[in-house]
């Protein structure tokens, strides 16, 4: 199918864009400060960075303001901004073992070395609307900061680093061993992926995937479209140091800390190459505090390793990887709003011609039958 360009409407388009600002501000409330979005809508900002594939909290907050809170639109804006920036460095591999943890839990083990740290979570709340937020003011905020931590027992100190829970299982010989794939590091922003897909390309695709679709695909597997029953071996949220090599510096240079969420998923056991049954794993890591995405990524990483000859959608890497990018899927879904006048007219032309041919064929059939049997009434009369 060919596409035909349209022109005109520049003034209406400009006015339509301005109307967005009108509807954003017509309520009369003070304009939201970007800093307020960055700090107080932090999970939305994190989602935009993760799906926009660019860690830039302030730009993500501006994008959210510009998109009036539309997460996918904001990710699109951030992805477009990314295209304007040169890539000058590749970081040293970030070590999540050195994560400055603010949350770390295991659903697989009750007692884990280093302890379970709930951190900032709504997991155990009842999701009742907090009407006190209507009255939040600088005074209530000050009172909160005066109060928080006052009653905290200092007996529990956080260790500097936490051992990986899967390493404990690995030492017991219960996990499949890492495969030495001898693959080069794939960059999906530079090359198109092909199938079967390299693991580094899979992980990069998943890391920038859209949370909702990844959760839906992972959920389909959890519900039974597939044979994966995941356990959350470990979930961590915290910051990791980011370092680069600079030609003028002998040592790696620290440039800041990046907030990430990491999930390690433990699943059914397979027989390894020696025929010994061992647990299998999936891995999730994404920018920001986004637990559902990290868990979904870990589950999908594992589902795509399925050896089943009859793969469910979540186990088919082509199906998963070609449908999880929010910018691509929203872009294609949104493009149906653009003028398709010519293509639709050609569809109508074909339909009219087909109807005409059908009618002519029916009439000709009736005529033939009339000639064979002049006393017979034509169908439908």
């Amino acid at each position: 199918m060919g596409y035909v360009a349209v022109s005109g409407g520049s003034e209406a388009i400009a006015n339509a864009e301005e109307l967005l600002t009108f509807y954003r501000l017509k309520g009369g409330a003070s304009p939201i400060e970007v800093r307020q979005i960055r700090e107080q809508m932090r999970l939305a900002v994190d989602k935009v960075m993760s799906e926009g594939a660019l860690y830039a909290p302030t730009i993500a907050a501006i994008a959210l303001k510009q998109a009036e809170g539309d997460n996918i639109e904001a990710s699109f804006i951030l992805r477009a901004y990314r295209a304007t920036q040169p890539r000058r460095y590749y970081s040293l591999p970030a070590d999540t073992g050195k994560m400055r943890v603010i949350r770390r839990i295991s659903a697989a083990f009750q007692d884990v070395p280093g302890g379970q740290i709930l951190g900032p979570t709504r997991d155990y709340t009842q999701r009742l609307v907090d009407f006190s937020l209507l009255e939040e003011s600088p005074e209530t905020v000050r009172a909160f900061f005066d109060r928080i931590g006052v009653q905290t027992s200092r007996s529990d100190q956080l260790p500097d680093s936490f051992p990986k829970i899967i390493d404990l299982l690995r030492r017991e010989g219960l996990l499949v061993e890492p495969v030495d794939r001898k693959e080069t590091l794939f960059d999906i922003t530079r090359e198109s992926i092909s199938f079967p897909c390299q693991r580094s390309a899979k992980l990069q695709s998943l890391a920038r995937g859209e949370t909702g679709v990844m959760m839906a695909l992972a959920y389909s597997s959890m519900r039974g479209f597939g044979d994966i029953h995941p356990y959350l071996g470990e979930l961590r949220v915290g910051t990791v140091p980011l370092c680069i090599n600079h030609p003028a510096k002998e040592q790696p240079v620290y440039i800041g800390r990046v907030l990430v969420t990491e999930a390690e998923i433990i699943s059914e056991y397979y027989e390894d190459e020696q025929g010994k049954p061992k647990l299998t794993l999936g891995y999730g890591l994404c920018f920001g505090h986004n637990e559902l995405k990290a868990i979904a990524m870990g589950v999908l990483d594992r589902t795509m390793q399925s050896r089943s000859p009859h793969k469910s959608p979540a186990e088919d890497e082509e199906f998963v990887l070609y449908h999880i990018d929010g910018i691509e899927s929203s872009g294609f879904s949104a493009h149906w709003k653009l003028p398709h006048y010519v293509t639709f007219q050609s569809t109508l032309d074909r339909l009219r011609r087909t109807q005409q041919l059908r009618e002519e064929a029916t009439a000709s059939e009736c005529n033939r039958e009339q000639r064979r049997d002049p006393g017979k009434t034509a169908p439908g009369l």
Partner: protein
């Protein structure tokens, strides 16, 4: 904390004052004006030990010469003034300018402040440490 970590995470006003003092007494030339760029962040999957690209991070960098000695400043996000100040401080430390002691004292003070902030946050996080007990009959 490493010195570079303190410089990156410390308060801008502190570095701005130091850089202004240095620039007032020494010849500062720009090698590379503050510019944003991206760094592709590498991560390593802890399951299969596969390195992969997690995504890019916006960063800012600048380069200066202070009395002929080069210095560089780096930070995440679009922070042109901060990286210029950090570049001036980096050059001053490399050149062992007379202000070195003053700079090191400011870095040490900022480090203590940052450690205090971090400890407070760590205490709050530690207060959420939990040990779920299995209920009887489970």
């Amino acid at each position: 904390m490493e010195q570079q970590e303190v410089l990156v995470e410390g308060r801008f006003e502190v570095w701005q004052q130091l850089a202004a003092d240095i620039a007032a007494r020494h010849r500062v030339e720009t090698l590379q004006k503050p510019e944003t760029c991206m760094v592709m962040m590498q991560a390593k999957d802890s399951v299969e030990k596969t390195p992969f690209y997690l995504g890019e991070a916006l960063m800012c960098e600048a380069g200066v010469q202070v009395d002929g000695t080069a210095g560089y400043g780096f930070a995440l996000e679009d922070e042109p003034e901060r990286v210029w100040c950090l570049a001036v401080i980096d050059a001053a430390l490399t050149a062992h300018l007379p202000e070195e002691q003053e700079i090191r004292a400011a870095i040490a003070a900022e480090e203590r402040r940052l450690q205090g902030e971090q400890q407070r946050e760590r205490d709050l996080v530690a207060s959420t440490m939990v040990r779920f007990a299995m209920m009887e009959g489970q």
